[in-house]
């Protein structure tokens, strides 16, 4: 999922209990901040640690972009790797499904 395409999802669903957190893996701060500024991205951005490589050691992520969709209970309900046109349609479907799903049975 390309980050600028997520901005639209975030703008649409941000008030409905949806948040986006993007972790930059390579600590390329200069380019990252330039990109975020140029594309006017407004969700949460974090930077990977030098000593504590959360991206690789905790999440084992080596392919980018990788996205996890997490429900209210903290469960990873959807895992997506890569970016292709139309991916955001499925992602939005999953977001809506999880938003309407209040934890228990539907």
């Amino acid at each position: 999922m390309e980050l600028p395409r997520l901005e639209a999802l975030w703008k649409t669903h941000g008030n409905e209990g949806f948040s986006v957190v993007a972790v930059e893996a390579t600590r390329d701060r200069e380019r990252a901040m330039k990109f975020i500024g140029e594309k006017k991205l407004t969700y949460h951005f974090l930077e990977n640690d030098e000593k504590n490589d959360v991206v690789r050691d905790t999440f084992g992520v080596t392919s980018f972009p990788t996205a996890f969709l997490i429900d209210r209970e903290g469960r990873i309900m959807y895992h997506h790797v890569g970016f292709e046109k139309g991916d955001e349609v499925e992602l939005e479907r999953q977001i809506l499904e999880l938003s309407s799903d209040r934890g228990g049975r539907k």
Partner: protein
């Protein structure tokens, strides 16, 4: 120590090797003026692409670079990018292949030709033009330049084309490269411990076993395939959500379905089908359900419950934002949260 970072674009996924290093280092090497110019033009093209949003514009910028500098150390990656934009994203495979071939015809430097040929293997493979892919592979192989990654590209293309003999043939060839010595030679720049190498070699053995077993199953050897899957399960790595890599459980589940073992098939297909939303795995899960229950009634409730029960709980972590403030992920979460990992290309 300066690690080199190398980003490879494959089918809309970027694989990143040895990050944490200085990606600009290569630009400092002494070069002849023509190569220097090509380097500058390439950096400009990459910079321009970054600022553009539309695929068509990104494609045009990349093609312009290749038209001006058809022969440089960036030819292969630029051709790969053209194929991704024009072929994968815009759906014009034929046009993308024709463009790549025209550029390849202009390359004469043997080292650059080699890197472009490697790219052509994956382009032909992705476009499903297997005879041309194999012709390039034979040429590289005769020069001793066909590495494990090239073999793997051929295997995945053969699998996609349901070509079982080709799959098994290249699994056999690639097995000779699944050892520590070859692995170290292929990544001379990486700072590898013996443990890293052993893990990588095991993973290579496992991925070949998975592909070979799936081809085997399609040739009718179901039991042998199941036994190979069980062996591969101990070899391949696992993703954070617990799925074995290289589609092991997808293939394993499909073979269990062929055997009529619906219960076991459903167990294998659950994560791929429900969390990774793999269409084949989801279809297999439904088939397994119908096999056990006789019809589709109750399938949606079954998957809703199964989905929640197999989903892994996310670990909390603490990182800094760009204001330098430490943030706990748990504080940023809402009812629904998208956590994504990226790097600026």
């Amino acid at each position: 120590m300066v690690k080199r970072s190398l980003a490879v674009l494959v089918l809309g996924v970027i694989l990143l090797y040895g990050w944490g290093g200085d990606g600009q280092a290569r630009a400092d090497q002494a070069k002849d003026p023509r190569a220097q110019k090509a380097e500058e033009a390439y950096q400009k093209a990459v910079e321009a692409r970054r600022a553009l949003d539309s695929t068509e514009e990104k494609l045009a910028v990349t093609k312009k670079f290749l038209d001006e500098f058809p022969e440089s150390e960036h030819t292969a990656s630029a051709i790969g990018a053209v194929f991704y934009y024009q072929g994968t994203d815009l759906g014009d495979m034929q046009g993308a292949v024709a463009f790549a071939e025209a550029i390849r015809a202009k390359v004469s430097d043997p080292e650059i030709a080699k890197s472009v040929d490697k790219e052509m293997i994956s382009i032909y493979g992705e476009a499903g033009i297997l005879p041309k892919m194999l012709a390039v592979a034979d040429r590289l192989s005769a020069a001793g330049a066909l590495d494990f990654g090239d073999h793997w590209t051929i295997i995945t293309s053969a699998l996609k084309a349901d070509n079982w003999d080709l799959t098994r043939g290249y699994c056999g060839k690639a097995r000779k490269l699944a050892n520590a010595e070859v692995y170290r030679t292929e990544y001379p720049d990486r700072d590898l411990t013996d443990e890293d190498v052993a893990k990588a070699v095991k993973n290579r053995e496992g991925m070949l076993l998975v592909s070979d077993a799936w081809a085997r199953a399609n040739q009718g050897e179901l039991d042998a395939a199941l036994s190979d899957f069980a062996t591969a399960d101990g070899l391949v790595g696992r993703s954070y959500i617990g799925a074995p890599e290289h589609d092991l459980n997808l293939y394993w589940g499909k073979v269990l379905l062929m055997k009529g073992d619906h219960q076991a098939a459903a167990e294998k297909l659950a994560v791929e089908g429900l969390i990774m939303r793999n269409d084949e795995a989801l279809a297999g899960l439904k088939k397994a359900y119908v096999g056990t229950h006789g019809n589709e009634t109750g399938f949606d409730d079954y998957t809703a419950q199964l989905h929640r029960s197999i989903a892994k709980k996310v670990d909390d972590f603490e990182l800094s934002d760009y204001k330098g403030e430490r943030r706990h992920f748990s504080d940023l979460r809402k009812d629904v949260t998208l956590l994504c990992f990226w790097f600026p290309t």
